[in-house]
């Protein structure tokens, strides 16, 4: 195990300098947040020497701010900490339930949404929820910070858009207004602690009359990465979100899925249940949006 090096900078500048100098000298680095994927890889599939850069002591990655316009969630905040925040759970219930589905109490004490995104698994549960909420990822690098939409952050199986001298600080979402609801549902063969066979996140916004004025739907575990299904959301816009509308959105999800067959399920099965999950998640998001319309300002 002595093939590794470790650094835990407390300021962003030195962290980025370290990444840049490693990138220039060809030294391999890996960013460490909660470690629930990285440390398993270190001990099993990938023992190659590298510098582990722990980003949890950077204030930027631990920052959580709920502003009047938007919400910023630091990349390295453990999901247990996020789930204990009642304001966050009431503002973004779908995103928070996607994080709450991942792992045991112990895993949630470490695992972060930023880490789930950077691990770039096709089945990462928080990724569809980030995409459905139009999250913008804030990336820091030697040349400054840049923003990338969550839908474009993952580029392939285990691959993100991060360059070797960059790190993810966190993500920003618009603070939901009245009439907003989101939801995430996945299918697993058991009730807890498994990897999604398929997953769907739905967000929607209703106007005062209950008509859907915006909706975004994203699917997970049915392609090489999580996908935004723009046409599925469009099927709901302008409707009062009847079962038939959700059925059309589900059909768009099936049409956009390009699943593989593996031990978790066949491609045919995944394509079928993604539509079912879309209808159900859409119904939950709709219920939340209606409750938000009727309730007090959030």
């Amino acid at each position: 195990m002595s093939a590794f090096e470790f650094a835990a900078p407390t300021r962003l500048g030195p962290a980025l300098d370290l990444l840049s100098s490693c990138a220039e000298s060809g030294r391999r680095t890996q960013i460490l947040a909660g470690g629930t994927d990285v440390i398993v890889q270190m001990r099993t599939s990938d023992r190659e020497p590298r510098l582990l850069l722990d980003v949890k002591r950077l204030p930027e990655t631990r920052q959580l701010s709920i502003g009047s316009e938007d919400i910023f969630v630091g990349a390295a905040i453990p999901s247990a900490e996020l789930n204990e925040n009642p304001r966050l759970a009431s503002l973004l219930p779908g995103l928070m339930e996607s994080a709450d589905l991942i792992g045991s109490t112990q895993i949630q004490g470490r695992a972060s949404i930023g880490g789930n995104l950077c691990n770039a698994s096709p089945a990462g549960d928080t990724i569809p929820a980030l995409i459905a909420n139009s999250a913008q990822c804030e990336i820091a690098g030697a040349r400054g910070t840049r923003q990338v939409a969550a839908a474009d952050f993952v580029v392939g199986v285990g691959k993100s858009c991060l360059k070797r001298d960059e790190l993810l600080l966190g993500f920003r979402v618009k603070r939901p207004s009245k009439g907003f609801g989101d939801a995430y549902l996945r299918f697993i063969p058991r009730t807890e602690m498994d990897i999604a066979v398929a997953g769907v996140a739905v967000s929607m916004e209703l106007d005062e009359a209950g008509v859907c004025r915006d909706s975004r739907i994203a699917i997970g575990a049915v392609a090489e990465r999580c996908l935004l299904v723009r046409r599925a959301g469009e099927r709901l816009i302008g409707t009062s979100v009847e079962d038939s509308d959700l059925g059309k959105a589900g059909a768009e999800c099936s049409a956009s899925a390009r699943p593989i067959s593996d031990k978790r399920g066949t491609a045919e099965y995944r394509r079928k249940i993604i539509a079912v999950l879309c209808r159900r998640a859409g119904r939950i998001a709709h219920g939340r949006a209606l409750a938000s319309l009727e309730g007090a300002e959030i």
């Binding site: 195990m1 440390i39 004490g109 807890e192």
Partner: protein
């Protein structure tokens, strides 16, 4: 490769140790500090046998790197009993025979104690969800759940007991 100097507090006692950058907290506890109450099961965060608290939050010590412990507070099974004797959770595990081979027990007790510190009167479903990351191949979990309920009752006696559930965990089976 150079060893790293780590200063950490384990069960309230300050320790200074040298560790390898790739060593885990579990290895630090067992091999460097001789605290062998924490067990290694799977080594990949699935079984919970190595459960400890890190700044009062439950983690799998096999999924924490030793240098990450710098300046942090670690709590292990060795710190659960007080000078006056066993902790209620430990006593109830013994009284109600909530263990057989015992490999999962340190992790289960650390996790159960942490649950009761956060939620003093959890209902059965909350207990089962909270402990879902602690695998036990002997007991079938039923006696474990009874022991945690008995410990909760003794720690927080109440006439009209209302078992509450954790706020974020759904009671419905997950899809």
């Amino acid at each position: 490769m150079s060893r790293l100097h780590v200063t950490t507090s384990v069960n309230g006692v300050a320790h200074e140790v040298l560790c390898d950058p790739g060593q885990t907290l579990l290895e630090l506890l067992r091999d460097e500090l001789g605290l062998i109450g924490t067990k290694e099961g799977c080594g990949t965060g699935d079984c919970g046998a190595c459960t400890v608290t890190l700044d009062d939050r439950l983690v799998c010590s096999c999924l924490v790197l030793a240098p990450e412990a710098e300046g942090r507070r670690i709590g292990t099974i060795e710190g659960v009993a007080g000078p006056e004797g066993l902790h209620v959770v430990q006593r109830k595990f013994l009284e109600l025979a909530a263990l057989q081979c015992g490999v999962c027990t340190p992790g289960l007790i650390v996790a159960a104690k942490s649950l009761l510190e956060r939620i003093p009167d959890p209902d059965e479903s909350t207990i089962r969800y909270w402990l879902a990351g602690n695998l036990c191949r002997c007991t079938g979990y039923d006696k474990v759940v009874r022991a945690v309920q008995a410990a909760a009752l003794e720690m927080n006696p109440s006439e009209d007991r209302v078992f509450c559930q954790a706020s974020t965990r759904s009671q419905e089976p997950r899809q």
